[in-house]
């Protein structure tokens, strides 16, 4: 039987036989080199391994600084390079120089010798550097597929074109019509648009209230019970892929490992991929510097525009081996039994359910005004609105993380749109369009609430821009959309996806009217709008605000965040921030549609454990 470096470690007493057997079993299942399994499934730290290699006479070379002859690299398949952690460097006098994670892997040496028909000279290199290098030079096909696959297979669903010609004609046509009507009859046109805006505003909020109330009916229902989770036989569980797209999240890597360790799922069945951008040495070095075993595999996403999270996830799909797949952010703390719950629920549901959305909430809710408002918002969104949407059978915009897919169906759907900055919401609508269904799993992932106003606006402007993109993509052919998702779905889509952006854009306009009327009592305003229009406008505006506050107040009940209820009164202020973000998003939609506003994480001074401790002592 061919030996590898780990066998030598066992012989040297640095690695246990049991661990070796386990690592080999995983390597067989996944088709990896044993060293890859050992380094990525928590058996071995990189530092220990590097120390052993040096003792064995294999000091690490800096492969990224080596002169590389691509002729040899190009003869190798990326999947194989990635799985067996090697990289042909160049031909030297005494043979082909190959850098490998495990230079003592006899099977690999034999394979390469046969492939290149020459002697192989093995040197050791960091598995992370090898990964970086092979993805950089051999990942072009995959990254292009990640970017253009959806556009090629399903151009109708791709957001590469933001505004189609008919949409542009319609938009400019409407603007022109508006001005013509203003010229023809200024007052009546102003009245009409005032009413249109205020009625839309109120209607969108009433729809949200309706959904929240529908959702609150099933407030205490558990889609999967604890007993069902307890009854799961671990040996029957499938491989579960977890994608962790990160960018410059070096501070969160340690936290990430602990959070992943807390998951109640067999370690050998967790296929965790940390997706690192090619230019993100910070995160790569943070992984390298870890002094405890990592439980994830690093995938380096080669540079390609647009530089978005969906592109990275699409790229990661090529290396995913799970039956199910989910995405978490680096700072996420999922419920320990979340993956098992998903497995149980998928088995309970009909096969047309292809994705399950978990609830998101925040561990740093009491940090400041923003985090409190954010917590209220997420609580009503995930605990009430999504359940409400599910009951009325309309498209559910997926949340950014904790959405669990059946991998084969995800690929069939064309995966994420790399040109859409809220790819998850877009995918949710696409799932519905393709006549599949989305379920909601009663499990929560705690995230870090954005606690800094400018960072918040950046993040929110991306979300709202993404909603606008999604709306434009799916409304390219409204008749066709109605045909596919029915009137109910169409109505829900318009009010939930389209209406959300519109309400934020309209809000400051209505607020301005209200204050002008209230404070200045301008005669001009009175002349422009007859009393009944002002009555309706003010009614809609105040009723809309009161109802929105009310929806936020409902949010506290499920999670017993009663202390936040009074903060719901500040929702109008929070909405103003949304409006700022909405206008920023609109501006970016026109000028930089694919630009990904990066949200900085790790700003909180609270950890999950400190938050929990604070809660328990009060």
């Amino acid at each position: 039987m061919p030996l590898c470096g780990l066998h030598n470690m066992v012989t040297a007493g640095l690695f246990s036989e049991k661990k070796l057997q386990d690592a080999e079993a995983i390597a067989n299942d996944y088709g990896y080199a044993t060293i890859k399994a050992a380094l990525n499934f928590g058996f071995l730290t990189r530092k220990e391994y590097v120390g052993f290699l040096e003792e064995e006479g294999f000091p690490l070379i800096d492969i990224r600084a080596e002169e590389l002859d691509l002729l040899y690299l190009e003869q190798c398949d990326l999947q194989h390079l990635n799985a067996f952690l090697y990289c042909p460097v160049r031909m030297e006098a005494d043979g082909l120089l190959v850098a490998a994670g495990d230079p003592m892997d006899e099977k690999l040496i034999a394979g390469l010798s046969s492939k290149f028909d020459c002697p192989i000279k093995m040197v050791a290199a960091s598995d992370l550097d090898i990964t970086w290098l092979v993805h950089k030079y051999r990942g072009e096909y995959y990254v292009k597929e990640a970017v253009f696959s959806l556009m090629r297979k399903d151009p109708e669903s791709s957001g590469i074109i933001t505004f189609t010609d008919p949409q542009l004609i319609s938009i400019f046509g409407m603007i022109m019509l508006f001005f013509v009507l203003l010229v023809v009859n200024f007052v009546k046109t102003a009245i009409f648009f005032n009413l249109l805006l205020s009625v839309t505003f109120l209607f969108a909020i009433l729809f949200k209230l309706f959904l929240a109330l529908r959702g609150s009916q099933s407030e205490l229902q558990e889609s999967v019970t604890k007993e069902e989770v307890m009854a799961v036989d671990n040996s029957t569980l499938p491989i579960y892929t977890i994608l962790l797209p990160v960018y410059k999240e070096d501070k969160l890597i340690r936290k990430l490992i602990w959070n992943l360790r807390a998951l109640d799922y067999p370690r050998d069945k967790l296929d965790v991929k940390l997706l690192i951008e090619e230019d993100d040495d910070k995160t790569l070095n943070a992984v390298r510097a870890l002094d405890f075993p990592a439980n994830f595999e690093v995938i380096v996403v080669p540079f390609h525009m647009p530089k978005t999270k969906p592109k990275a996830c699409n790229y990661g799909l090529f290396f995913s081996r799970g039956q199910y797949l989910t995405i978490y952010d680096a700072e996420d703390i999922p419920d320990a039994d979340q993956l098992k719950k998903v497995h149980v629920l998928f088995n309970k549901l009909t096969p047309d359910y292809v994705v399950l959305q978990g609830a998101l909430n925040y561990f740093n809710k009491n940090e400041n005004f923003l985090t409190r408002m954010f917590t209220l918002e997420y609580s009503y969104w995930f605990d009430y609105m999504l359940t409400g949407l599910q009951t009325v059978d309309t498209p559910i915009p997926l949340g950014g993380t904790s959405n669990h897919f059946k991998l084969d169906k995800l690929i069939e759907l064309g995966a994420w749109d790399p040109f859409n900055v809220t790819e998850d919401a877009d995918l949710g609508v696409r799932v519905f369009e393709k006549l599949y269904r989305i379920g909601v799993v009663s499990s929560t992932t705690l995230e870090e609430a954005n606690n800094e106003p400018f960072n918040w606006i950046r993040q929110r402007s991306r979300w709202i821009k993404g909603y606008m993109q999604t709306f434009l993509v799916h409304m390219r052919n409204p008749a066709h959309l109605v045909q596919r998702i029915g009137w109910k779905g169409f109505f829900g889509f318009n009010f939930f996806i389209g209406g959300t952006s519109v309400t934020f854009l309209v809000y400051p306009v209505l607020l301005m009217f209200f204050f002008v009327y209230l404070i200045f009592d301008l005669t001009a305003v009175k002349a422009l709008f007859p009393p009944w229009v002002l009555y309706v406008g003010i009614f809609n505006f105040i009723a809309g605000n009161v109802l929105m506050i009310y929806i936020n107040m409902l949010a506290v009940f499920k999670r017993r965040y009663y202390e936040l209820i009074l903060f719901a009164m500040l929702n109008p202020v929070y909405w103003l921030m949304h409006s700022i973000a909405a206008y920023k998003g609109l501006w970016q939609l026109i000028y930089k549609p694919f630009y990904w506003e990066k949200t900085n994480h790790g700003l909180t001074k609270m950890s999950h454990s400190s938050a929990a401790a604070a809660a328990s002592t009060t």
């Binding site: 109330l213 609150s216 009916q217 099933s218 407030e219 205490l220 009393p531 009944w532 002002l534 009555y535 003010i538 009614f539 105040i542 009723a543 009161v546 506050i549 009310y550 107040m553 409902l554 506290v556 009940f557 499920k558 017993r560 009663y562 202390e563 209820i565 009074l566 328990s616 002592t617 009060t618």
Partner: protein, 524 residues
Amino acid sequence: MKKKLPGHIIRILSLMMVVYYLFLSWVTHRAGFDHSEALFLSEKLRLLFETDEQTLLILGTTFPSIPFLSSIVFSPLGYLFAPIACSILFTVLLFYFILMDFNEDSSFSPRLFLPIVLIIFILHPGIIYSATSGRSNAASFFFFYMVYRSFFKFYQTQTSFYLSMSSIFLSCLIFCNFNFIWLLIAFFPFIVLVSLEGLKISKDQPPMNQYFEAINIRSQRRKLTNRTVAIYIVIFMLPFGAAGLFYYLNNTHAANGVYFLSSQYANWRVTGLDFIDGLLEQFADTNLRYQTQLVFQGYALLLTPLLIGTLFFFRGKLYETFTVISPFIWMSVILLSARYYLTIEYYLFLLILAFTILIFKISSRHKKGVLYPVLIIATVLNIGTGILYFKRTNDVLETQFYSVLTNSKTWFEPRTESENARIARFINEIADEGNKVLLDDAAAYTIVPYLESLKKVVLPLQESFVTVVENPPLGARYMVVAKRVNKLHNYTVLNAYNLALMQKRINLQPLMLLETDNWVVYSM
């Protein structure tokens, strides 16, 4: 397993109730009965659709808003019929929900609940009165039921859905009868106990131990306080928010925040209620003598044997008991300020409450041998007490309705023309667009619905009204004046007193053309 009534049977029964109430409203109308509140709503509907002036004021300030706005839906069927259709709709909705809830949520078999519900809805004169008179009471009963239903469902499920629904229905209830704003006071005492129920504190311990823990353990006390405040806010936010918004809009557009409560042009209650001062001569042996603190609640309870029977079997937690008591607390608050006779609705709320308790809090398995006969007897007695109420009522319209309802011989006799209809017919005959009639609908709202066209009259909502009142011959040829005996004499500018002033000031020489009990039509 409980035997259930098929859903379509309940729907058919509801439709039959619609037909039944339609028939009764038709015969009572034929016999000359029209309730002034229904006429008030009819008049506002007419003004809304047939005039161009003050549309906003009519639409936005006419109170009670929900019955009025709901009547708009039926206005194509006729202005006079619309409020009646609306009251029938709300009564049948109440009937439907009660049957559905009995069927789905109670442990009673249709053999018991069907007779009880049918007897009450078919025979109780108070229910028939609410359904067929076009008053806003029917809507109040429906929302009152929905509020308490939501509370009891919340107690069962502990989901915020029912808490929100109770808040929404409470807002609707307030917009059917503003007195219900005082019901919020009655809710104050038990919310703490409700909130305690939601906290998972030593559930297996007796309640006293739970209270002890909740109050003495700091973290539990904090949770209890937060949850209590949260529940208060969620229940009270919408009613107060809605009332505040309505106040603001009234203030903006009528220059008076309580215009909807205080103006005779916006609210029937301003002119329609019978003030106690005017009823004192009828004090002996009537309902009025029992309308004092504590006595009234006992008397109302006595007139609701079904509630007495229900309370006999009621076994609930402390907060559920408080919930049951809350309407009595509300009555106490009403009595503090009420200077008017409390009509049938203030008694019937207890009957609705009885249904709620029966559905959600009484188990048919408990003392089954006694329960069934007691409830059936109480139901039959309830019909008797309903009749008793009407026999001793101090309200003229209730007396009139009861007399019409019980005198079935008059149902199919030639149609009786009411005083209002008679005046309207006269105006239709003499007036035209060139010879208008000056009319103040503050008091004459009962006449307006019978008119052929509003083009023949000058009303206060028209800009010219003030000028015409100052000098009637300038804009009208005829004038309808309230006599001194007219109960609404003091609410209108067109009364005997002002007529005398006009005669003096502008030397007006009016010629009496028609005189009825309450009105005189003059030619100028």
